[in-house]
Symmetry: C2
Subunit: 199 residues, 2 copies
């Protein structure tokens, strides 16, 4: 929508309007109260708030503004590439290519230096090699565990997911946030004991 | 859920789990694509991203981490107090008292210094007296304008809202972000010209 002749502002508003679509990308996680599927936008909001609240538990000192930026944008590529369920091995094929194309298109809506900053942050998140990225990834893995447990384990049961898969898939929470992994292992054990998760 | 004996972490996770409810608080704004009502969590995500992208247009220099925190938590009180439509004058009665009680309860789930930081940020947002709060409020007003316009003006029409009300209600966007107010006034004029908003 070309509206007032400030090309840079219009580019930015174009991006802001495009990412509106993230509210339509549904995840496998169910919300605790009404059991509808969570969308990527509300998930990203939840992670950003978690990042702020739990900063003291990060494995290594983090730059919290960078972490918050990372989790706010980490799923934007799914506007084009869709959400791939964590335990769907077939769905992982070609995922990296699809997501990189999506990053090029969507972050490319912004002026070069702004788009490149977000693109680099997204790649850093995916690579999980820096303290900021490890902490951000820990939050991204822990949040669905917490919701799945409190929603009664329906998502795990529907997909026949077992405890060893959940442990294997989420173990790296410990690299970014040991206290959360400690909490998570106890939550997983409790889920098994309560019949919410297969042993 | 008392799970591993780390009282402070459990308090934090208790808060994180409680604010999950923000995903159930519905706003009057309709999403552009499927015309369902937007919820407060995805709205807050959108504002946080806007804050980062549009920082250069803030009326005065801002501390962007503080602004992002502010917009991430600015609607949390609505978990208890509910969303009040911007043009609902009757709904404004008692709103301040309801929201303050909600802030006490919800931010009070955290340890004192953490809860108080968020509580003060929320009050600062509401008071609109600092550069950070004025910029955050500008984003909070601009975002529904952008969505209402692109969703065809249904929200305005359903409530019989007129152009002069929209201008009056949103004028202070200019105090926090003049470039956005410039854009908004043109968007409002275009909405009137296209029959999306009453003159």
């Amino acid at each position: 929508l070309a509206i007032n002749g400030d090309a840079r502002l219009e580019q930015q508003i174009g991006f802001i309007f495009e990412v509106e679509k993230l509210k339509q990308v549904l995840r496998q996680t169910l919300l605790v109260d009404d059991k509808r599927q969570e969308n990527d936008a509300e998930h990203s909001w939840h992670l950003a708030l978690m990042a702020l609240i739990l900063e003291e538990h990060a494995a290594d000192p983090v730059d919290i503004l960078r972490v918050v930026k990372m989790v706010l944008i980490h799923d934007i590529v799914e506007i084009d590439a869709g959400d791939t369920f964590a335990y769907d091995e077939a769905g992982q094929v070609g995922k990296e290519y699809r997501e990189r194309e999506a990053a090029n298109r969507i972050f490319g809506l912004l002026a070069a230096e702004q788009g490149e900053e977000l693109s680099r942050l997204w790649e850093e998140f995916e690579a999980r090699k820096t303290a900021d990225a490890r902490y951000a990834n820990a939050l991204d893995r822990f949040q669905p565990l917490l919701l799945n447990y409190h929603a009664g384990g329906d998502t795990w049961r529907r997909h026949g997911v077992r405890k060893d898969q959940v442990v294997e898939r989420n173990r790296h929470i410990g690299e970014g946030c040991p206290a959360l992994w400690n909490y998570a292992t106890r939550l997983i054990d409790r889920a098994v004991a309560e019949g919410k998760l297969l042993d």
